[in-house]
């Protein structure tokens, strides 16, 4: 189906239910279809819905249409200025040709635990906006959106329309870092972090980890341990140790659980150090 309005797309989903899949950029769904892991009877292609694309200022943050291409986000000045954490993650997503087609909303609703954007949504405390014919619009905090492997709270007849990302408090530094076998491949482990420093102390920390669980997770104990700490090497090392002990990664062909835990510790430390350095405008 090639709907030309959101209502038409929502009607198609309401009609076909579980037989239908929403096609956004297709950079995950089409491989799944090629491998016969997905065999939807009906595809509802959102590529004709121009109204779902675009990045605009929203309060002090941004609102990003679900069909905004990764490439457009990568080039967006308003995103770089207002949500640098997300801007930094963009070049890490897939490869250039994947980012030409892939979309922000597609990555979020695909909910691959190894993907960058779900973790960014957690670390930035984004809000996702979905619609269905039945229930109209609903807003979902990122912390409640991801359920498990490739699973979100979106209902079969719902379409993710936009994501609102708030700006971080002043004096916040950011970092996204990951370890992948090949640049652009899915990360073995990745970390997105934001650190706020006020009057010489850490006042807020957000740490979200990529590919250490069946969904992106916040390292909440590590975040709590940082509040009130002096922004120095010992604090980052301690938080990294806490983060690596509060996660429970599984193993696969590429990395054992113990190795993932170890890489997570290294990545968290690196991300916090870098984020803190950037609070003062450093690199």
């Amino acid at each position: 189906m090639l709907p030309t309005s959101l209502e038409e797309a929502l009607s198609a989903l309401a009609e076909y239910g579980s037989e239908a899949k929403v096609l956004a950029g297709g950079q995950s769904l089409i491989p799944l279809m090629s491998l016969r892991l997905a065999q939807p009877g009906v595809l509802v292609d959102l590529n004709g819905l121009g109204a779902l694309s675009g990045i605009e200022a929203n309060g002090s943050g941004v609102r990003i249409g679900a069909m905004t291409r990764h490439r457009a986000a990568e080039r967006s000045e308003v995103l770089a200025e207002r949500v640098p954490l997300m801007a930094e993650a963009m070049p890490l997503i897939g490869h250039a040709a994947i980012r030409s087609r892939g979309t922000i909303g597609g990555s979020l609703s695909h909910a691959d635990p190894a993907a960058e954007l779900p973790a960014v949504a957690l670390a930035t405390e984004a809000t996702l906006i979905a619609r269905s014919l039945r229930g109209g619009e609903r807003t979902i905090p990122a912390s409640e959106f991801f359920e498990g492997y490739f699973t979100t709270v979106l209902a079969e007849d719902e379409i993710l329309c936009a994501v609102e990302v708030p700006a971080a408090p002043p004096s916040t530094g950011f970092c996204v870092t990951e370890v992948a076998r090949r640049h652009g491949d899915f990360a073995l482990v990745g970390v997105t972090a934001a650190v706020t420093i006020d009057q010489g102390l850490v006042t807020r920390a957000r740490i979200a980890l990529i590919n250490v669980a069946e969904r992106p997770v916040r390292a909440e104990q590590a975040e709590a341990a940082l509040v009130g700490a002096k922004p120095e090497a010992a604090a980052w090392a301690e938080a990294a140790a806490v983060a690596s002990s509060e996660i429970d990664p599984s193993g696969d062909l590429h990395a054992t659980p113990a190795y993932r835990r170890k890489v997570a510790r290294v990545c968290v430390k690196r991300a916090l150090e870098t984020a803190a350095r950037r609070v003062g405008g450093g690199r």
């Binding site: 089409i30 292609d45 590529n47």
Partner: protein, 167 residues
């Protein structure tokens, strides 16, 4: 429309207007190869990993195996067949040949289209930027250095350890 239903597609490929009826489920790659006979676009993995099928769609590099032909309606597509001008290889193709930037040649069309798109966007990339861009394409023969050198040669940059120095 079902996935097997035939739909009309009209688009511009390498400067020519092309029209065809294709099944909704046909990928752009299969459409280019099977329906238009443009077999220069190669299909390696068919799930977006290898980059061999990369073409340029409205100025952006895309995996032609990861979109449907119907999604390219009214678009402008450039394939490897569109690079040479009247049978004469362009600067990039010539530079790649000079640098021995391919061996079996299977991955070459994808590399050249990805590089062409990169250079249109950024005519003077750094070596790091070139390496980053090339990371999306897999070559099993060259070890990549000669491909990198081909790009450096094409943009007129210094080519380290040039093959010309090897006796």
């Amino acid at each position: 429309m079902t996935l097997g239903e035939a739909v009309d597609v009209a688009l511009t490929v390498n400067g020519s207007r092309r029209e065809a009826q294709v099944e909704a489920r046909r990928t752009l790659a299969d459409f280019l190869r099977e329906d238009l006979g443009l077999t220069g676009t190669h299909l390696g993995c068919e799930h977006g990993v290898c980059g061999a099928c990369t073409v340029i769609l409205d100025g952006e590099p895309v995996r032609s195996c990861l979109m449907f032909a119907v999604q390219a309606r009214d678009a402008t597509v450039t394939t490897i067949e569109g690079l040479a001008v009247e049978g004469v290889m362009n600067n990039l193709q010539e530079a790649m040949r000079e640098s021995h930037g391919f061996q079996c040649g299977f991955c070459t069309p994808g590399f050249l289209m990805q590089i062409t798109a990169m250079l249109a966007d950024n005519p003077n990339p750094t070596e790091a930027e070139i390496r980053d861009t090339l990371s999306g394409n897999i070559c099993r023969c060259t070890g990549y250095e000669s491909i990198l050198n081909g790009v450096l040669r094409a943009i007129g940059a210094d080519v380290p350890g040039s093959h010309q120095s090897v006796p």
